[in-house]
Symmetry: C2
Subunit: 157 residues, 2 copies
């Protein structure tokens, strides 16, 4: 497959560079589609998991969403302040907080469903449908294989 | 292709989620391989372009590296302080700064070449070689197609 490259030769051959750019592109598309809601992709992921698996503790939620625990705790606190999530202490250990979606959070999740779907669809829309499937299958294999990496806070600047 | 998924069902079907996780995984691998150098992937990308295309102005450099101009200016200033990059005013317009690599920067770039290559290789190592090629070709097509998105600073939290 030969393609004309807009991007600098050396960088274009580095998977990490292309993945960073794809991530930025997705963030821009998400911001465009979801500007009205003031919710980031990570916040939306947390709300999704809190909805499909209510009552997880924060460590489990951090694992599912793929962020480190400190980030998770911050974002959950912010979403709780906005009234979108609820936290209650576990019966067996009061230090453990169990997270679930509030009814306001559930309503927002539903309202965002189509815009979010559009952001995800547009992220891979440049590929023909068959290639989209291939790309998603390869991405899933990679993330599954290396799923224990990259949950710690990292210097991004 | 059927694979067992570690990650939550709904999230695993979202390209943006998988791309964010891949990006985190790559950052973790880069940090592991390059811990000794105190250089981030974006800093390394800037040094790479400053090396292969010396004398670009900051706007051009931001475009090549795929970051917004404010981020680029900050990172370049930090690398200049460390003695890794040099900035000089353009002859035609003194407000425009042209960026090039210092000899110290060039030495560091060379020293980091193998560790950086390992980080990139490990990012896609879980795929068989033929699938790696496919994955890279699809990634390149996507980034090229949407290369004008995602250069603005975005709220990530």
């Amino acid at each position: 497959m030969t393609i004309e490259l807009d991007i600098a030769g050396a960088l274009a051959e580095r998977p990490g560079f292309l993945i960073r750019r794809m991530h930025q592109i997705h963030l821009a598309l998400f911001a465009e589609e979801c500007a009205a809601f003031d919710i980031t992709p990570v916040q939306y992921s947390i709300m999704t998991v809190a909805d499909s698996q209510p009552g997880l503790d924060q460590a489990q939620l951090a694992y599912e969403v793929g962020v480190d625990r400190a980030t998770l705790a911050n974002v959950v606190a912010r979403l709780e302040t906005k009234g979108l999530l609820r936290r209650r202490p576990s019966v067996s250990d009061k230090r453990v907080k169990l997270v679930s979606l509030s009814s306001r959070g559930a309503a927002l999740l539903e309202k965002m469903l189509l815009p979010v779907q559009r952001a995800h669809d547009r992220t891979i829309a440049a590929l023909p449908p068959k290639d989209r499937e291939t790309f998603m299958a390869l991405l899933m294999r990679l993330v599954n294989a290396e799923n224990d990496y990259g949950r710690a806070p990292l210097k991004l600047g």
